[in-house]
Amino acid sequence: MKILVGVKRVLDHNVKVRVRADGSAVDLDNVKMAINPFDEIAVEAAVRLKEEGVATEVIAVSIGPEKAQDTLRQALAMGADRAILVPHGGTTEPLSVAKTLKALAEKENAGLVILGKQAIDDDCNQTGQMLAALLGWPQGTFASGLSVTGEQIEVTREVDGGLETVALNLPAIVTADLRLNEPRFASLPAIMKAKKKPLESITAESLGVDLAPRLELVGVVEPPVRAAGGVIVATAAELVEKLKHAAAIA
């Protein structure tokens, strides 16, 4: 079984977000970019399935700028076998990413697609569900556990009320939550080896997908700063007094 994994190149989660002075977008010039943390978990999950003998090949896919090759190389260093870049400048939207991944899943005859549950830049949390709809496949979203037995995958999902388990027929879509696994660090030899692994470029046009955004981005602003009182009190008793005074507690 082949596994397709989606990896998005995003602003590193430790970098402070700045909005461009003209309010057009978040400033991504000369800032550290990284693999979306959830996608790192997705790659780890796929590589483990290959190590268990469940998967035969892991293919990492990114839709993004040429620089997303770095992100794909990281997935290769973690153990993916080959990578596909669908070059695109500018932002990608979940619906068109899902259409691209659908075309590739069909082309590659994938048996499982693992994505992150959410990209930490757009915070959309949509792509996996959309891809499942387009392919007509079942979906195991927000996964914190998975196991494949024969033609089925059992997925434990993190839901608002606790945990839920679903059984899905393969082929299926899984989206990774934070507690699915702890991604490995790529070793130096693995990073060297990754440089020689195949990375092909496939245009969206050749897949019949239009990547132009459908939603109009009117503008981006920084959120209002919280005016915190910032009062440090010495004791719990003093805190209780303050809170009572502010009517925060009875």
Partner: protein, 309 residues
């Protein structure tokens, strides 16, 4: 404008998040209908019909929907969505799982987690863990949207008398099957809607120590939450997590205990009316958003707080 709101519920009562989503629908303006998908959920349909300002309640009440499988529900929502300008759900795991699937079937983008309605086509939403706010405009005939509950007033629950219509579900798909659910049992109020939330972080050290928070929470009528680090370490179940990828809360009072205040945590609580931080590190970033703070060891402070209440 005609708006279809997908209800969140547990087959017996309607979720409070849906009342906030109806608040967003009211801001968009126009006729508002509610779609209830469930099994043995007549009480939910009745409750929905009693909400003032609701025109119609569509109810697909059948065994198939007793468990919320998106694979079964999405085609029906797609069918029901015809003729509506907006389809709305809450930013809950139920709607986050279902609505993008519906949007793709309708071939429209989804606008996730809106925090404001500018006009019927234009919405504000947080991006980058709430570190930026984007305004987006849709040019599609139908807009599929999820709504951030903490940003919209809940509507009233009594006084309405909407018309109820039963609708048929299609037959089941065979691809996905519900296996089991483990409900985390909590004694206090619900995290998402509690007036006071007290959350513990890695500083709590272990799960047993959360008893220190439980004791104070019981006195204050507060819900208990946690940081990701506390959940990852197995101190408390996953549904305690507050943050960018957990629950978003905006209580009157939020007390953060042994939590450093990473941006991903702040994303889930910085809209709280008042924030209190208890941390032994005076330089912890949580103090930058706190109204009141105590710099000290939580194992001294929490018992003292309990005693002072």
């Amino acid at each position: 404008m005609t708006i279809l709101v997908i209800a969140d519920h547990d087959n017996s009562s309607i979720a409070s998040s849906t009342l906030n989503t109806l608040g967003a629908a009211t801001q968009i303006g126009g006729d508002i209908d509610i779609l209830v998908l469930g099994g043995n959920c007549a009480a939910v349909t009745q409750a929905a019909a009693a909400i003032p300002g609701v025109r119609r309640v569509l109810s697909a009440d059948c065994e198939l929907f007793a468990q919320p499988l998106a694979e079964d529900m999405a085609p029906l929502v797609q069918r029901c969505a015809e003729g509506y300008t907006h389809v709305l759900g809450s930013t809950t795991t139920f709607a986050k799982n279902l609505l993008p699937r519906v949007a793709a079937l309708l071939d429209v983008p989804q606008i996730s987690d809106i925090s404001g309605v500018i006009d019927a086509n234009t919405f504000e939403r947080p991006i980058y863990a709430g570190n930026a706010l984007a305004t987006v405009r849709s040019h599609d005939a139908i807009k599929v949207i999820t709504v951030r509950s903490t940003k919209f007033e809940a509507v009233a629950v009594t006084g309405g008398s909407a018309e109820c219509l039963a609708i048929d579900a299609q037959s089941a798909q065979a691809q996905a099957r519900f296996v089991s659910r483990t409900e985390a049992k909590s004694e206090g109020p619900e995290l998402a809607t509690a007036r006071i939330v007290i959350s513990g972080g890695r500083g709590m050290g272990n799960g047993e120590n959360f008893a220190l928070l439980d004791a104070v929470a019981a006195k204050l009528g507060a819900a208990v939450g946690a940081s990701r680090a506390a959940v990852d370490a197995g101190f408390v179940p996953n549904d305690y997590q507050v943050g960018q990828t957990g629950k978003v809360v905006a209580p009157d009072l939020y007390i953060a205990v042994g939590i450093s205040g990473a941006i991903q945590h702040l994303a889930g609580m910085k809209d709280s009316k008042m924030i209190v931080a208890i941390n032994k590190d005076p330089d912890a970033p949580i103090f930058q958003v706190a109204d009141y703070g105590i710099v000290g060891d939580l194992f001294d402070v929490m018992p003292a707080l309990d005693a002072a209440l």
